[in-house]
């Protein structure tokens, strides 16, 4: 019986903490990567990034609906995955259009980063308007395909435990796609000529220009990569949970927190930061009562919920962590060196 209690406790934790945190962490890591790359190369904090996430996901949903209406699906996989490349192309194109019509003016003027930041707020408003105008402000679930890989009920029956583990297909897809994206990005940055040029440009703009790197090209590639990452993150998040413009907008803050905590400007930092924030949000608001009930002998079982912070504060957690990091180690976990 002792052994089973222990395993139950572990499965409980895996089901309610580990798996969701891994999944959310991967989504957040991708989004934060896109934010940090824009920061590292284009040198400003892009307040519109969360709404690019909305925009990209909206595009994917529209394409998915289109495909579904003409009978194309992806079988056990969500149709949105098929739609993803198309959504990325549309998002990247629109992103480049915005860069050309809005940001490039300030770049040529060598405006201070804070000006670019305020400009990105304007872009943020416009994106919000467009997304709500086209797809509306309401919640949309656009998942189709096989939902569960393992279902708690089956798990419980198979192993004869009290606690079951559910793994949704979206969670597995998230982790796999995120891994692929991250590995490809790191390969690109470290091994390809273009990637190395980007890093050089980010590190020391004048020197990079002197060695013949074309700044326009770097800018375009940066926005394209950012669009790929943010659209993917948005689609994965939306498949896993649901799409609602307001919810996506609220992800801006955890994204920034993750970027700064991890070390702004550093891709590895962005990934670490993403997982740190995701895990913190979930571990700090989970009610561990049942966990302790499994592990403790009867007379020591807790009566309270054993929550560190109530779920109401889930949102504020990224900030509390951010503020702590800013006091203790402002450069972040990976000393925020530019890529």
């Amino acid at each position: 019986m002792e052994n089973f209690e222990f395993i139950n406790a572990i499965v409980l934790l895996a089901n309610f903490v580990l798996v969701p945190a891994l999944s959310y962490g991967s989504q957040l890591a991708l989004a934060t990567l896109s934010l940090t790359i824009v920061y590292g190369v284009l040198r400003f904090s892009n307040f519109a990034q969360a709404d690019w996430m909305s925009f990209g996901t909206m595009a994917a949903i529209l394409f998915a609906w289109l495909f579904q209406s003409i009978g194309i699906t992806a079988g056990i996989f969500p149709t949105a995955l098929l739609a993803l490349p198309f959504a990325i192309i549309v998002t990247a194109l629109f992103c480049l259009l915005i860069d050309r019509s809005v940001y490039s003016f300030y770049r040529k003027q060598k405006s201070q980063p804070i000006v670019l930041m305020i400009v990105s707020v304007g872009v943020m408003f416009i994106l919000q308007a467009i997304v709500r105008f086209i797809i509306g402000p309401n919640d949309r679930k656009f998942f189709d395909g096989e939902k569960y890989i393992i279902h708690a009920l089956d798990f419980k029956n198979y192993f004869g435990l009290e606690e079951g583990l559910t793994i949704k297909s979206t969670q597995l897809i998230t982790v796999i796609v995120a891994l692929i994206a991250m590995i490809s990005l790191f390969y690109f940055l470290q091994k390809t000529k273009l990637g190395k040029s980007m890093r050089a440009y980010s590190n020391n703009e004048d020197l990079a220009l002197l060695s013949g790197i074309n700044p326009e090209k770097i800018v375009i590639v940066t926005w394209i990569i950012s669009s790929i990452l943010i659209t993917t993150a948005g689609v994965l998040y939306g498949l896993d949970k649901s799409f609602k413009p307001f919810t996506y907008f609220n992800l801006l803050l955890p994204m920034f927190a993750a970027a700064i905590v991890g070390g702004i400007g550093s891709p590895i930092g962005a990934v670490i930061g993403g997982y740190v924030i995701a895990f913190s949000e979930i571990t700090l608001t989970y009610a561990y009562k049942k966990f302790f009930v499994y592990l403790m002998p009867e007379h020591l079982e807790p009566s309270g919920l054993m929550q560190v912070l109530s779920t109401d504060y889930k949102f504020a957690i990224s900030f509390i962590i951010l503020v702590i990091v800013l006091i203790v180690r402002p450069t972040g976990i990976v000393r925020g060196k530019i890529i």
């Binding site: 980063p113 400009v119 707020v121 308007a129 105008f133 907008f249 803050l253 109530s310 800013l326």
Partner: protein
């Protein structure tokens, strides 16, 4: 355009716009808009001091506004004696423990070199702090919140006139700004923005969820007023006489006594609403004038000169003996205190405290629009910005609906496109705001009423 004329022209245009609303919609609506415009202007002045003079990007404007509103509640609401009796002590103890723990943590962190000792102490402080707080906090909250939760369920306030809260809000906001400033002002400007945004999120989260403090999302309504109630007016003889004499000729023209009485009654009712709004407007405008006067006095003096030097060339100012950090901190506090006052005024106007209505990013950036379009670095510009942008924000929705109606005019009533367009008209407001910001930054970065470069 001649610089001297910008301000008068801008304000005249504003006056005309408000008059148009008065004539076409109603004076009641126009006055409501004016009241909110005045409050927005005060907020804009606060932000302008921080940004236009201090170069500080405060993205946490809503947090300070919420603090101001909270102060209004905590100052004016009657105390709930039962709650204080049963659990007041518990709350006080847990607050003291909280403050002591944080101070201890900071002390240990700054002063203890040995990493081992330091980390052990930190863990011990956190551990015992949490236990101590949990011990007192949890049960106390439950007690407080269980006392008549439908009507109260919280600690209540000090029971003082609500107008006192405006000044106290300045102090509260200033104190919080001091704490935040000490932590974040050494950071670069974009970090400062994110940090202030984060802290304001935390403030708003606390206000929304700590029911024992402010009833959370249940809201606190029926707050005290500094102006008469419409009902009171409708029942006072002097007011009735006033309305009768103002509308004398109109009433005389009506023959039937009963219908004359009816018309008078209607007039009294609608006038009472307008009278109340005028009272608020008078109060708010006086506060605006006072704040404007005080800031102009300060800015046109050696203090202002010093700020301009720091803004112009920080390194040189530092080499010339100016303590940059302290000056930034000071202006951050002053600006935030002003925002706090506006927050208390806002809650006073509403007569209720609704934590759910503080949506950080959205409204913070509207205030930013006010400062940037109005003219950063110029208080008159901020006032104009406050009026203009708020006006657009309010009128944008009915205007967009009208516009869309016009566009979709040709489509039948049940055409899905038309339905969709009409439903989305509200979002046009966001688009307009974003577009305005981008256009202003590109073509009029100094704003409508830019800062005057003095050449005395």
């Amino acid at each position: 355009m001649n610089d001297e004329l910008r301000a008068p022209i801008a304000f005249t245009v504003m006056g005309i716009l408000l008059a148009i609303v008065g004539f076409t919609q109603s004076w009641s609506v126009s006055l409501s808009i004016i009241n909110l415009c005045i409050i927005s202007s005060i907020m804009a002045i606060g932000v302008n001091l921080q940004w236009g003079y201090g170069g500080l990007f405060n993205a946490g404007v809503m947090g300070f506004t919420a603090l101001g509103g909270l102060t209004a509640v905590l100052v004016s609401h009657d105390p709930i004696y039962e709650a204080w009796d049963k659990a007041g002590v518990g709350i006080i103890i847990s607050t003291i423990i909280f403050i002591l723990s944080i101070t201890a943590l900071l002390f240990v962190f700054r002063n203890i070199e040995n990493k081992q000792i330091r980390n052990t102490l930190i863990i011990l402080i956190i551990f015992f702090g949490l236990i101590g707080i949990n011990n007192f906090y949890g049960p106390s909250i439950n007690i407080i919140e269980s006392i008549d939760p439908a009507k109260t369920g919280f600690l209540g306030g000090l029971g003082l006139p609500i107008i006192f809260s405006w000044l106290i809000a300045a102090v509260v906001a200033g104190l919080v700004a001091w704490v935040i400033g000490k932590i974040t002002l050494r950071l670069r400007s974009d970090y400062l923005a994110i940090a202030t945004l984060g802290i304001s999120e935390i403030v708003i989260a606390v206000v929304k969820h700590e029911d024992w403090l402010s009833r959370g999302v249940k809201n606190v309504s029926g707050l005290d007023r500094p102006v008469p109630y419409e009902i009171e007016l409708q029942e006072s003889q002097w007011f009735l006489n006033l309305i009768e004499s103002i509308n004398f000729s109109k009433l005389e023209a009506i023959n039937s006594l009963t219908s004359r009485q009816d018309v008078l009654n209607d007039l009294v009712i609608s006038s009472s609403g307008i009278f109340v709004k005028l009272c608020y407007a008078g109060l708010f405008f006086s506060v605006l004038l006072l704040i404007f006067y005080l800031s102009q006095l300060a800015l046109n003096s050696p203090w202002g000169r010093m700020l301009r030097a720091i803004r112009d060339n920080e390194e040189a100012a530092s080499a010339m003996g100016k303590n940059i950090f302290l000056q930034h901190l000071q202006i951050f506090i002053i600006g935030s205190a002003i925002i706090g006052i506006a927050g208390a005024m806002l809650t006073t106007l509403d007569g209720q405290f609704t934590p759910g209505s503080y949506r950080p990013l959205r409204f913070t950036f509207i205030i930013w629009l006010m400062v940037i379009i109005g003219g950063s670095g110029n208080n008159l510009g901020s006032i104009f910005g406050g009026f203009f942008i708020w006006f657009i924000w309010i009128e944008a929705e009915p205007l967009s609906i009208g516009f869309v109606n016009m566009l979709a005019g040709g489509l039948e009533y049940d055409n899905p496109l038309r339905i969709h367009l009409l439903g989305s008209a509200a979002h046009l407001r966001l688009f307009i705001m974003g577009l305005l910001l981008l256009l202003a930054l590109r073509f009029m970065p100094k704003g409508v009423i830019p800062e005057k470069i003095q050449k005395k």
